[in-house]
């Protein structure tokens, strides 16, 4: 009998303890919707998180979950996936967890390309420890730990991921449940490490940090929602687009200066070269809209598949059939 699960079937009995208005709620709802739509069994899903507000996520899912230690979720998830490749494994992490204390694991898990998903909640602040700047906080921001403004340049998660060899990178705002849901579905369907950066609002310590990107008034002009095979068009009146001018991107208006839709770039998420994907990731306000949706989605060898193949090959070629044969191989001698 086909068992159809609804989003609410994925809700655990635990009370959700995030602050009222936190962007995490929308992510939670989108993930439940995505899993229901994917028809994955609850017992075949594992959410593995590090430390931080968003890392409480696994408690709220009626799946398997592991709330681990700061920065290490990706490393723990790696073991879980290798032990049981049939599981749908989701790494839940924040900008501090994944890119500061867990920065080393982040670049390596991206590079290795296991078939897992990672949701990176980027609110550009440390929430759980009450408001220190994070590796994604914009230069100059005044926070609890930078009363005179930060004097360090932030990571752009997508740029770091693509530089580490990411094969699937998407970015979504926490205000667009529909886009988040679809992107999580795409992430799960991609065979490889799928990284989804959520621009998430921390209502207490960094409220409205993404406001200029996500507010109702500005979102159409300030977001470019990418779709594979579609021209890069955005704007309230859908009349703006992205064109390649020499080696740079530029924003153009359709119908002005002889620009037509045919002049615009068409999004190719599947092209192997990360050059254009990186340029899209780097687009920022006010000069450009911020790129959303699946920016990169390419096929590459998958670590867990290759490990399984190596083991199968070793079993096939082995001169030993049992451990007893191994123990008794080579130079042995009898003591009487």
């Amino acid at each position: 009998m086909e068992c159809i699960l609804k989003p609410k079937d994925f809700a655990s009995d635990q009370e959700v303890k995030w602050c009222p208005g936190c962007g995490d709620y929308a992510v939670l709802n989108s993930v439940k919707k995505a899993l229901a739509e994917l028809s994955i069994k609850k017992e075949d899903v594992a959410f593995i998180s590090g430390i931080g507000c968003s890392s409480r996520f696994p408690y709220y899912m009626e799946t398997y979950g592991f709330h681990t230690i700061h920065g290490r979720a990706a490393a723990i998830a790696t073991g879980t996936k290798l032990a049981n490749p049939d599981l749908s494994v989701w790494v839940i992490s924040g900008d501090g967890d994944a890119l500061a204390i867990g920065g080393n694991h982040f670049i390596h898990v991206v590079r290795r390309n296991l078939n897992m998903n990672m949701i990176l909640f980027n609110n550009e602040i440390y929430g759980l420890t009450k408001g220190q700047y994070s590796p994604t906080t914009k230069r100059g921001e005044v926070t609890k730990s930078s009363p005179h403004g930060t004097i360090e340049s932030p990571f752009l998660p997508g740029e770091l991921a693509l530089g580490s060899g990411s094969n699937f990178f998407a970015r979504v705002p926490d205000t667009n449940v529909k886009l988040m849901t679809q992107t999580f579905i795409d992430a799960e369907k991609h065979n490889g490490y799928s990284l989804v950066e959520v621009l998430q609002n921390c209502v207490i310590f960094n409220d409205n940090v993404h406001e200029s990107i996500t507010s109702k008034e500005t979102r159409d002009d300030n977001q470019l929602v990418l779709k594979h095979g579609q021209p890069m068009i955005f704007g309230k009146e859908s009349n703006k687009g992205i064109r390649l001018n020499g080696l740079e991107l530029e924003v153009v208006t359709i119908g002005e200066n002889g620009v037509s839709e045919a002049d615009l770039l068409v999004h190719d998420a599947h092209t192997q070269s990360p050059v254009l994907h990186t340029m899209l990731v780097r687009m920022k306000l006010p000069e450009f809209p911020v790129a959303m949706g699946v920016i990169r989605d390419v096929e590459a060898p998958v670590y867990n598949d290759e490990l399984e193949a190596q083991i199968a090959d070793a079993i096939h070629k082995s001169k030993f059939q049992s451990l007893d044969e191994l123990f008794q191989s080579g130079n042995t001698f009898e003591v009487k």
């Binding site: 655990s12 635990q14 069994k41 609850k42 017992e43 075949d44 899903v45 594992a46 593995i48 696994p58 408690y59 899912m61 009626e62 799946t63 398997y64 979950g65 592991f66 709330h67 681990t68 230690i69 290490r72 490393a75 723990i76 998830a77 790696t78 073991g79 879980t80 996936k81 290798l82 032990a83 049981n84 049939d86 599981l87 080393n104 694991h105 390596h108 490990l307 190596q310 083991i311 070793a314 079993i315 070629k317 082995s318 030993f320 049992s322 451990l323 007893d324 191994l326 123990f327 008794q328 080579g330 130079n331 042995t332 001698f333 009898e334 003591v335 009487k336």
Partner: protein, 595 residues
Amino acid sequence: MQLAGSLFTDTTANMGNQIATFPDFPSEIRAPQGTVAGVSGFQIHFGTTGVHSPGDAPDVLIAMNPAALKANLSNLKSACTIIIDSDSFSKKGFDKAGFEENPLEGDLLSDYKVIEAPITSLTKENIADLGLDNKSMVRCKNMFALGMVFWLFNEPLDQTVLFFENKFAKVPLIAEANIRTIKCGHNFAETIEALTSSFTVLPAKKQPGLYRNITGNQAAAWGFLAAAKKANKELFLGTYPITPATDIFHELTKHKWTGVKIFQAEDEIAGICSAIGASFAGDVAITTTSGPGMALKTEAIGLATMAELPLVIVNVQRGGPSTGLPTKTEQSDLNQALYGRNGECPLIVLGASTPGDCFKWAFEATRLAIEHMTPVILLSESYLGNGAEPWKIVQMDELPEIKSVTSSNDDSDWEPYKRDSEKLVRQWVPPGTEGKQHRIGGLEKKDGEGSVSHDPMNHAKMVQLRKDKVAKVADFIPLQKFKGKDATKLLVVGWGGPFGILFGAVNELQKEGKDIAFTHFNYINPLPLNTAEIFEKFETILVCELNDGQFANYLRTQFPKFKFEQYNKLQGLPFRVDELKEKFNTLLEAKMQNI
């Protein structure tokens, strides 16, 4: 080669060693080079005591070409270290020596510890700027090998340097070439952290049966393979390379045919974390490391303790602190194993005591981890890991089944942290199990239910439960034994790697009729239930260990009523029988005088 041999002989003799040498060179001065007949060799046997002959089979063979390897192959014992000049192992070279295929490939040398070094090319490169002709440069290469041997045996270079300065006083260029080469070889060995097997196998009566030689690291790897098989589960190793533990990892990579999954992580933390993730998903999970790596794994060990997941952490100890002495042996990570975590964080600690029994203790560590749902730290030592001894081959059907605590489908009142009354363990329910979805983590758990709890009384209860769970392991391990008569004057106490030498020293004194007994611990936490009963029987208890008294201090906290004397050594070297006997005799005589 004859010169290299005699220079090493002079230095070792000067260092107070007994020496026997056996120069073995072709009768024809110009026998064809590269052929077996043309091999020039020099055998030296050295040690502090008991050197009566050049030694039947060497611990280290330096083979400057394939012919030298061929000539000595039949005379090697297993786990012997072979230093090879890889530059000479061309097809031409091994054809000339009569090898059918490259001996460095295939299984021919699988029982030995082979150190391949491009000796000729490094020698030439190192002295290229001196302007010597090619022949003179190549002639220095034996000194490179000698430098490596000086490193392996902790011998100083000074005397050899002085020798060259004097001998070639009139040709300083040659002196410099040789001195630079010997230093280069010494540095090279240090850089690659070259290790030799220095385990002393004491003559003892062996049980009849089929034997093979095995190193401690190989035995540990095999023990884990056996344990996973007996648990009817897949083995997962998450690890990061570190001297002197890496050979467990190397050995397991040879056996992917068993289904073992091996993950070389980006760091020590990811090594253990991946193992914890694999354990969560139902694999028999292990991680291997040495002291500095242990330090990095600390937080994750706490997570495994809190999550109550089975996990084996192997620490092949080396000299510390910090980077310390990567290639030398020590037992100074005991405190780290017992106490080195935040919070009240008890776990099982075991210590292996011979290369061969690393198999047994790897198996036992895995059994206890799975059956008691807890991390287990297995302490090995450089001396064991790289040492070799004859090992009585275990038959798989002699080993017990390992039974994990899993739930049945009709277990309607199942909860993630519900415990059985006998062992206080929770059930191991990996993802994929229908209807038992649950969440675990590092936050304090509510007793039974397993949800997050900050309740004060619940925390107190959980701390006690985790402590009791580990303490209860004592009900499932054998009682402690001792060797000697009841109510003797002196009890020698050891743990871990010094077993063989302590046993040997006590044995010799017992044969002399001395009033001495010996007990050796492998179960460190919890200790066997009858430990105090044994201590009761003796007037003096002497704890011998290669650290500053960590086990002695641990025993003091466990058994405050006894007085523990200490004998410690911190030189990166194993104990010697003579120094132990001297200490034992001093204590025995002091006791006599008191009477």
